[in-house]
């Protein structure tokens, strides 16, 4: 207990002891050793309820590391990809900052090139982002370009990378820049690479230049230019980039001077500023006076919104099932809610996710099976104990599965339940099935998304996250959204239908599921679907080709088409008719977008279908409709219908809520009002006579002093008379002194909580309660309550304190 007696530490870390409560003193040495092991495996323990062998625990631990490594890697990747365009724009901005000025509009005076980086309101997340920016800038090549490398970035691209020497970057944070001196100092130290404050400047030797003197920087810069002067005159001089990470938190006066100084030195040192703005440009205009603003030549960069990042992460990790452990609907909802409601923090989301992954592998014995590459040879299968099998058989999805088997193959069902060996054999197949399901799901989900983006009716558009969430919940395939989309497809006229089918085929062909495989053995469901779509397209093309050959447009056909349109619009509720125009408009926009497929070109010329082909066409449309419908129904089914999905889907939320939505007030109130919840002690039993009363309403002398005081406090009014409070407290304590039986545990507990009082307690054992002691305990309890903010001293009434909380909890 001694180690928790520190006066200065507020928090103690108590690792779970590996030796159970029941083990005696004899085992302490082995316990110590076990504790050391404990940290080697990040706290993973053997799970007792399944009698897990140690290897199984190791597997879980390895799986956790692998899984989390995979996730972080992917997340980082997503984040980088999200911002490549902006990053490369920033890169170009910085590197052209001093070559641009001569080419672009000539200004009568030098302006300080300043990039304004709008990075979203979650400031804690920015650390990573700005480090990334700094890294990007200081590297000598522009960031590897994403899909759209800033096409023709600037008009003045002429003097880029060829002669660029790397820029030097520093990041200033408001916490280092409380005044001008420290801001300059921090900047200079970082530029010069002086890690520790107080180190002398290597350039100046013994001279006593102050470390916030700009001259230091100027000197350093000159020596920098001299040292890499070899490149000749053409060689561009390195620019010095100063990143002001959290603009809003800076002291504006300091910033103002700082910028003025930088701009004064601009003729000697080519500075570029980058300011991170969390809010809007108004912050800049509010923070800096006109005189300073007019020295800046700003350019704005909008980083990717964090909610888009979140969507991208969810898509990459879960929708496309690139990781092993998935998140079920409830926890995902909580993750997203927390993000949207409270902080927009991708960092928060990631740590939350980590917690989930940790918990899954830490506590779920079946998580040893949570492995994509599980095969019949896997070691994990050999390690399964009967406990594991019990767990497996208790899974709802497994029971469902067995029930499903019952009709078709009752024998197998029986084997699944009774025969462990058989079950083991089945597991890899089931896992494989789940994996297949994920992949198909991802692809068809993409198709759904493709459908939705095609008909951009903003009103009815659902964000990706929402769609996925619906799918997790299982409500997607029965929602009205899909029939609605289908109806839009049906309404397409023949040209657009052709284009649509063409695009659809393209989408399927390009999806990673359908890339051509070496052997037919690897063929999967999606390949079959691809063939279906292909055949539809071929027939459609053939049909329209015939049409195009005898492209005659008679008035009757126009009517015909009109009829068709009418028909289809009837099927829709009235409200959509108006939007129809919009839809087709939009589709035309797609069309003119420059897609140059042969068919598309042709269909643009031939617009009408002759009567003869109409029947075939209608049939084809019907088939398309059915195919779409079938695709969704088969592949977007809810994961809960898949056997063993519980192993892959984390679905708890309680523990996560406790960790990430802490409620300090509620916990304090519970601790004070119902201490037994936390203490788990035996002494605080309600007296035998009062069975009806709940424990929370009673004041027991065995409880902690502060709890007693709190319970008395709850019954008081706005002002609390100290003396009354004290007397009541004393009476309760006295009540506890009478029966000698409870004395022992009581004394022990007090000693535990307030170690120092143990001695005095023992002395007063026999005699009546010492008044002095009561008083001392009273005072310390009151002080604690005051510290926690329940009471406040007041001058309004003598001997009274003011109550600060309300409600009778």
């Amino acid at each position: 207990m001694d180690e928790f007696d520190s006066l200065t530490d507020g928090v103690f870390f108590v690792p779970p002891s590996t030796t159970g409560k029941t083990t005696g003193k004899s085992k302490t040495t082995s316990g110590k050793a076990a504790q050391r092991d404990h940290f080697k495996r990040d706290g993973f323990q053997q799970l007792k309820d399944v009698n897990e062998p140690i290897e199984a625990m190791e597997i879980r631990h390895d799986l956790f590391n692998r899984e989390w490594g995979l996730m972080t890697g992917r997340i980082e990747n997503v984040m980088r990809n999200m911002n490549t365009v902006v990053l490369s724009a920033i890169y170009n901005f910085v590197h052209n900052a001093y070559s641009r000025q001569s080419s672009n509009a000539a200004m009568p005076f030098l302006e300080l090139p300043t990039g304004l980086i709008f990075a979203g309101i979650n400031v804690p997340d920015h650390d990573l982002l700005f480090q990334q920016i700094a890294q990007t800038i200081s590297s000598s090549t522009p960031p590897s370009s994403g899909p759209l490398e800033a096409e023709d970035m600037e008009l003045d691209h002429n003097t880029t990378a060829s002669a660029s020497s790397a820029s030097h970057v520093v990041i200033l944070q408001s916490k280092d820049c409380t005044n001008l001196k420290s801001a300059q100092k921090s900047m200079i130290e970082q530029f010069l690479g002086l890690g520790i404050a107080g180190a002398t400047n290597p350039l100046e030797g013994g001279t006593r230049l102050q470390n916030y003197d700009m001259l230091v920087l100027e000197r350093w810069y000159q020596s920098l230019c001299e040292s890499d002067d070899g490149g000749g005159e053409e060689r561009k001089q390195p620019t010095l980039v100063v990143i002001l990470q959290d603009f809003e938190s800076f002291d504006y006066d300091t910033l103002q001077d700082f910028i003025t100084i930088c701009s004064n030195y601009q003729d000697r040192i080519p500075f570029v500023l980058l300011m991170g703005l969390a809010t809007s440009i108004d912050a800049l205009h509010q923070g800096l006076p006109k005189a300073v603003l007019s020295r800046l030549q700003t350019r704005k960069f909008q980083m990717q919104q964090s909610s888009e990042c979140l969507t991208a992460i969810i898509e990459d990790l879960f929708i496309h099932a690139n990781v092993g452990l998935m998140v079920g609907s409830l926890p995902l909802k909580q993750l997203i809610d927390q993000f949207i409601h409270y902080n927009f923090s991708v960092g928060g989301f990631i740590s939350n996710l980590k917690y989930i992954v940790m918990h899954h592998f830490y506590a779920n014995p079946l998580s040893i099976l949570c492995d994509r590459s599980l095969t019949a040879q896997s070691k994990a299968l050999d390690l399964l104990t009967s406990g594991h099998f019990d767990h497996l058989r208790m899974l709802p999805s497994f029971q469902q599965y067995v029930e499903g088997k019952l009709e078709g193959d009752p024998q197998e069902a029986e084997m699944l339940i009774l025969d462990d060996e058989f079950l083991v054999q089945q597991i890899p197949d089931l896992v494989q099935g789940l994996w297949e399901y994920h992949q198909n799901f991802g692809m068809i989900f993409d198709f759904l998304w493709f459908l939705q983006t095609r008909f951009s009716i903003s009103l009815l558009k659902k964000p990706k996250r929402a769609l996925y969430f619906m799918a997790l919940e299982g409500s997607l395939i029965n929602s009205s959204h899909i029939p609605f989309l289908q109806s839009l497809v049906r309404k397409l006229d023949s040209n657009n239908m052709m284009i649509f089918v063409e695009d659809w085929l393209q989408l399927f062909k390009e999806s990673p599921r359908c890339v051509s495989k070496e052997s037919t053995a690897l063929e999967n469901a999606m390949d079959r679907e691809l063939i279906v779509v292909q055949s539809i397209r071929d027939r459609m093309a053939a049909l329209l080709d015939i049409v195009s050959e005898d492209s005659v447009t008679s008035s009757s056909e126009v009517e015909d088409n009109g009829e068709e349109a009418e028909e289809s619009s009837k099927t829709l509720s009235g409200g959509f008719v108006k939007k129809r125009k919009l839809v087709s408009l939009n589709v035309y926009a797609h069309e003119t977008d420059g897609r140059q497929t042969r068919i598309a070109k042709k269909t643009r010329e031939t617009t009408r279908i002759p009567k003869g082909a109409l029947g075939a066409y209608t049939l084809l449309v019907k088939e398309i409709d059915e195919t779409i419908s079938r695709l969704f129904r088969t592949y977007l089914v809810c994961h809960t219908s898949m056997p063993l999905n519980e192993i892959y889907y984390y679905s708890q939320i309680a523990i996560q809520q406790k960790a990430f939505l802490p409620q300090p007030r509620a916990s304090i109130q519970t601790a004070l009002g119902q201490p037994e919840v936390y203490l788990n002690c035996d002494c605080c039993r309600p007296p035998s006579g009062s069975a009806g009363q709940s424990l929370a309403d009673m004041v027991l002398p065995t409880q902690h002093d502060t709890c007693i005081l709190y319970k008395l406090y709850v019954e008081c009014g706005r002002m609390i008379n100290m003396y009354d409070w004290f007397t009541a407290f004393g009476m309760i304590l006295e009540r506890g002194e009478q029966p000698a039986g409870v004395e022992e545990p009581l004394a022990k507990k007090r000693a535990g909580a307030k170690g120092s009082r143990a001695g005095s307690k023992a002395k007063t054992k026999a005699s009546k309660l010492d008044q002095k002691e009561v008083q001392a305990r009273f005072i310390s309890g009151v002080a604690e309550l005051q510290f926690m903010g329940f009471i406040k001293s007041t001058t309004r009434k003598t001997d009274h304190v003011m109550r600060l909380t309300w409600g009778n909890i």
């Binding site: 901005f93 509009a105 809007s280 409601h341």
Partner: protein, 562 residues
Amino acid sequence: MVTSPLQLLHEAFPGRAKQIDQILGFMGKPWAATPPSLLINGNSSLGKTAVLKATLSAMLGGGSGGGSNSTQIQTEQQLQELRRRLPSRYAFLDCVECHTPRLIFEHAIYQLRNPPPSQDKGSVVFPSTHASTTGMSEKKEAATVSRKRKRMTTSPLDWNKCENVNEFVEWCRKICDTKDELDEFHETHGNHRAVSGSISKHQNETRYLVLDRAERLRDTAPTLISVLMRLQELTGRNICVILITTIVWEKFRSKTGGYEPIVLNFPQYTKSETVAILRKDLPAEEEEDLDLYMRFVDLVYDVFQRNCKDLNEIRHLVALLFPLYIKPVKEGKIQKHEGLKLHRHIQAYFVEAMDKLYLREISSTEWSDRTLSTASGSMSGGSGSTGGGGTGGHVSTAPGGDRALTTALDVQNVFDLPYYTKFILIASFLASYNPPRLDMRYFAKVSSTGSKMTKRSKVAAAKKHGHDSMGSKLRQQLLGPKPFPIERMLAIFYSILDEEVEENVNVHTQIASLVSLRMLQRVTPMDKLDSIKCKCNVSYEMIKTLAKSTRFEIDKYLYDFS
């Protein structure tokens, strides 16, 4: 053609001839004793810094050569050479940069003990010889040139520590006493013997200590001002202090009194002076458009001078607008002499410049990018660029033409907040602008007691204000936000939320982050943890948009607000 430095100076700074002469008169011959101090004041960007720097460097920094007759030319050149090589006679300090006395001292000593910053021809501060016409492009080059030149002249840094006034005075004496070749030069040429006579026999050249933006001294080193005023007396040497400031001397005066400097005021430029200065900004390559340019400058001056007296701002505007002005001429759409047409053409840009450019809502590069792309867009019909799709839509640098940029601009003026954070902000706004006594009326969830309260509080409100709320002087809207205790705000927050939210730690972190984003302003000092009070620092417009996005009817809850 040989021009004297004086002439060059006059040429470089139209409208400042008188002031330059005054400064030169004040300085006298290089070795002559000067008054102890000079104060130059005048509004912003009236050329105080530029003129003084140029003058000093021309006279004392070996700025440029030239004389009226041949023998003089020789000695002059010799002198210039020496001046370039020998320790500088003046130190030019910026008080923003030198924000402690120590920095002032050390920088001054350093500059006075080292050669003056080399001023090559066409350098930043003193555009000489042909610089008058090649104005701006020259300056940019000059910046790089001077950067490069500086490198060449670096000598091992000879830095001297100087922590207090006494040491500084001592140093000044030492510096003034060092006799170098320049002083000897004067002696051998005997050109000051005649004037100064026997008294100043040992007198070396005057040293100047220039402090730009001297108004800062009042904060950073208030006691230093009076010391500087009598630096000549304290050192007993030939040293002169020049302060440059935007404020009048009266604001410097200390209670204890002290020496008064000679005050030289830089007056506002007249129109003709302004136009003459702007004339020099015309890039050399567009010299043939001089007529047009002058007409344009005239126009800009007339349009903007009421709002904007600042020379730099007008230069800024001219530089950015002129290319637009002459574009139709260059493209042959409008003839040069069709003044009215041109005028009409540029008028639209003026309006935009007025509210965007002048306020720096968009910067010069963004402006020129934008106007450039508008132009190209209008050429090509401007309809084809709807593509790009949803992938990179709001990247500000995506060259999506004029429209993309404007939308990017708009996008950045609104930003999203987490859902509950919006409500926290709305609650803070309500707490800041509503009187607390009406909280019951607005936010109490129980309606039965509410009706009773409403009447009473309404009466109370009317009584307190005395008259109808319409013309009330005490309207909080006009008084600005009032501080409120966090607890009150939280109570409002939980009451305006539709759903039940349990109090949790995230709400508090959001409050903290709002404070750090300056949307809430904490009025209790940081070290006080009890009963924190804040103010809402957000405009009504912003709250309105926030409320709209959350479908919260803010107007229902605001008292006496419009």
